[in-house]
Amino acid sequence: MKSLVSRLRQPAPAWLRYFGWNTDHKVIGVQYLVTTFFFFLVGGALAMVVRTELLQPGVDVVNGTQYNRVMTNHGSLMIFLWVIPVLAGFGNYFVPLMIGARDMAFPRMNALSFWLIPPGGLLMIASFFAGAAEAGWTAYVPLSIRTPDGQTLWALGVIVLGTSSILGAVNFLTTIVTMRAPGMTLWRLPLFVWGIIATSLLVLSATPVLTAGLIMVALDRLVGTQFFAVAGGGDPVLWQNLFWFYSHPAVYIMILPGMGIISEVFPVFSRKPIFGYRMIALSSLAIAVLGLTVWAHHMFTSGMDPRLRIPYMVSSMVIAVPTGVKIFSWLATIWNGKLRFTTPMLFAMGFISQFLIGGLTGIFLAAIPVDLHVHDTYFVVAHLHFVLFGGSVSAIYAGLYYWYPKITGRMYDERLGQAHFWMNFIGMSLTYLPMFLAGLQGMPRRVADYDPNFLVPNQLASFGGFLLGISVLPFLYNAFVSLRSGKEAGGNPWRALTLEWQTSSPPPQHNFEQEPVITHGPYDYGEGHLAPHPAGAPAAGE
């Protein structure tokens, strides 16, 4: 009894703070990372159902309606509850640290941004009990106003998650503009911060339009408005405009912070200044601006005004230029570098090769004749997954491994990490490369059944998919076990120059013992006087 009372009087253990309302950006960052990874696992489990169903022709494991529900929620969870918010999680943890601030500009609003995520996710998952959304993550009307009630919950969930994004974007931009430490000028911002700037601008410009569109869908379903009811004069193309005005920029929302992570990883593990710092920073802004002008390239087959097709094709293709600037700058950064093939470095290199395939097939799809041919086939599925899985998820893994020592104070197990990388890389290629072939041969997407001619690519894709599913296990094991048994990381195990590494791991609540004063760029490697550690101390992975 006595011991119980005294135990109750003790301050709550440190880990408890991750389970409640907390305004420390580092706590919120971890809350984001862990919560979104949970949704990643749920979305991944749904993907396993999809690949099991497609293991052979015929409708066997789930029926057509169930397949549509699984496929729809797989996409929605992965986009709205994994890739977009997990990158906001990295932003929360590292943007204040990287610019030398004590916290975000609006800490309470920051906590609110996070606490909107679990309800949004629960709304989406709860929809399974009310006849889940089954109109695809694109929720095309009029299908999405005729499906069962779960679609309404889905729409409300996405509105809530969009609101969380918007509040986060306001917070990031305000923090970066007003809270930089002395000497942290515009051209000394780490490139991850530039990625967050570009993404936040996109979120502010595009997400509210999706919110407006989803409100119309919800009103059509709930109170009988006629926005998309074709019989009442509603027009489905309006939804496509509203949806793609957000959802095309959304792919840049999902890739620009990832590109920022890649830009952090390459110079550190190449021990070289990044090549073309300003061009990489400006190309993020260029992608953001161009990304807002290309949405109708998703609508080439929707009967749009033919005069507008060519301009949309051209503007879509132009995005390859700033993207190419980034890729060549990264290659030039590792050229002749003193490379350390740590797990984050491997994921960063995997990112380049896989994102390149995704990006190049994006140019194919922007070409009107090709798009008319492969529209709504598996070619699109393969392209999208090379960009979002090969691109964004590789970058997220790179970031998780790169910053694991900073967040936890412990090193992860390098052998397990590398095993994870190879399983992920092989699984990814095996899953999505055959889909290009199936798509070119005309296999339609979003169907539970298929022509037996497509058996081989589908079986390859399913085996690859299962390998991807298993590949999460070494990661999870590594992440949990290293929390206790990992080697002490120290403040700066990678001997990196960016500010988040110039404090202890994990950082104290106020981030820095003394307010940092910045006198050099974030990637000025190879200049002796900047060595952040006593000379001779080997960096991890060397």
Partner: protein, 197 residues
Amino acid sequence: MEYTKPMHEDAFRAGRALGLDHLKLGVWLFIGSEVMFFGGLIAAFLFYKVNNPTPESALLDVGLVGINTFVLLASSLTVVSALAAVGRGDVASMNLYLIATIVLGVAFLSGQAYEFVSLFRHGLTLSSSVFGSSFFTLTGFHGLHVLVGVAWALSTFFRGMRGNYTRDEHIGVEVFGLYWHFVDIVWIVLFTVIYLI
């Protein structure tokens, strides 16, 4: 509960060097996103106005809405006068202007409610046609923003009564004003695209 240390006095010095207040910057960024929210709704309204015109728009009573427009414009004057008053250190006048703002905001909402009811009587509802859907959704969300503005005005008023604002510290009044004027600007645009053109 965890005790959170107030932020360092100098935390926002990078913003100050640029002449930017962090709260004001945050509110402006939020207003920027609100532009796009109303942008989506207005685009939908115009889409149907151009591509699917209906005779129902003749039911709208421009005269009544004109009066409402004057009411909202006047409320912007009272809001900006409240800010000017607190800038002089005249908190009492500020509170009076805020009360006037609340009264005008409620008057606007009442006028809108009256307009909605009379349109219902003529058979124009949310579900009667695409015009009804887009009209009520657009003006309804503007009305909701006015309602939020009235609530914000009330909270500003009570803070003012408690003496939270002084001649030198009144950023809260200013950012409330930014929101209110933005809602006024939205109305100026809606009045034109719905009732005039």
